[in-house]
Amino acid sequence: MRLPVAKPSSYRFALLIAAFAFAFGTSGAPAPAALDMYVGARTVVQNEPIGDCSTKAKNALNAVLQNAFEAGEGTGQWLAYGPPDYSGHANATAVIHCFPVDNGYVVTFTCAVDVPPNPDTASALCAKLVAAFDAGKTAAFLPSARY
């Protein structure tokens, strides 16, 4: 016994193809990137030399981004970019400013990202940097960290 089978008309088939084409076409269109900037934490640290701030800033930037460098030797202003994409462009960057006050220093975090494609917001990036900076501080007080 043969069951009746409904054959799709050429019109339906064309419509299906068109729908797939539209779906793939629209989903493949890149969303325009927006620049997101965030002024992160500002912390006053007492009884620590400015050199400690610079060390921790550089380490934190290298932990979260890469190739941290000081914007002018001895300025205490550290800058880094995220890993470059296929075109050699980075989509995340951050600055940590250290400046001395009294017998300590003030440190600030400022971050900028392009979203998309960067997965993190500028706020999230700054939060990671603050955590990395603080981790550096903790490590400095661990006995095992002293040689």
Binding site: P32, A33, A34, L35, D36, M37, Y38, V39, R42, P49, I50, N67, A71, G72, T75, Q77, L79, Y81, P84, D85, G88, H89, A90, N91, A92, T93, A94, V95, H97, F99, P100, V101, D102, N103, V106, T108, T110, A112, V113, D114, P117
Partner: protein
């Protein structure tokens, strides 16, 4: 140890982000003002930011941290931003300038930061670069503009700087130009020849005239 409150004048160090990126950052301009209030710094910061960007806002209120995005008049995604951060130090304050721009902006992050800092301090500023206007006329180096078919009634194409074309019914395609050889991708590929005056192209089943 140096004390910032003893600093006379200001320290100005400019460093531009050397690395290429979708985002470019500039930092390094830092003024040390021995005598002045945080409110004074904030007022100047807001004014300076709004001169080049828009919607300068303090975040959080009373913090002395100011942030603005640009471009001025822009309604789409931000392509530029700057942060001016005021920190009280003894009888004065320290103010830092940090700027970021997307690659492709007509000006770079350093130019933006320099102008904002100079606006803050009252120094002469340099006008930021503006986008290069799109070429007009019947150029032989591009196909920009509106093209009208000479043999297919009602058919027109609009071709843009990105190599995209759109016909009068919204159907899209692409154009390419090498020398005077035109490639149109529009219901298949078509090869045409651009005339020496840049006003006509024909071949591949099309005969078009540019409005210019």
């Amino acid at each position: 140890m140096r004390r910032f409150t003893l600093a006379l004048g200001f320290l100005m160090l400019v460093s531009s982000a050397a690395a290429p990126g979708a985002v470019s950052m500039s930092t390094g301009i830092r003024y040390v003002i021995p005598e002045g209030s945080l409110q004074e710094c904030s007022s100047k910061a807001q004014t300076a930011l709004n001169a080049y960007l828009q919607g300068a806002a303090e975040s959080p209120a009373g913090s002395g941290d100011w942030l603005a995005f640009g471009p001025i008049g822009g309604h789409g995604p931000s392509t530029a931003a700057a942060a001016v951060r005021c920190s009280p130090v003894d009888k004065g304050y320290v103010v830092t300038f940090t700027c970021a721009v997307q690659i492709g902006n007509p000006y770079d992050a350093t130019a933006l930061c320099t102008d904002i800092a100079h606006n803050f301090s009252g120094k002469p500023v340099t006008a930021l670069a503006t986008p290069t206007p799109l070429p007009t006329g019947c150029s032989t180096t591009n196909l920009l503009g509106t093209w009208v078919s000479n043999d297919k009634s009602g058919l027109t194409f609009t071709m843009d700087i990105n190599g995209d074309l759109t016909d009068n019914q919204g159907v899209s395609g692409n154009w390419g130009l090498v020398g005077n050889t035109v490639t149109l991708t529009y219901y298949g590929n078509h090869t045409l020849t651009l005339s020496p005056d840049g006003k006509h192209m024909s071949g591949g089943g099309y005969d078009l005239t540019r409005k210019c």
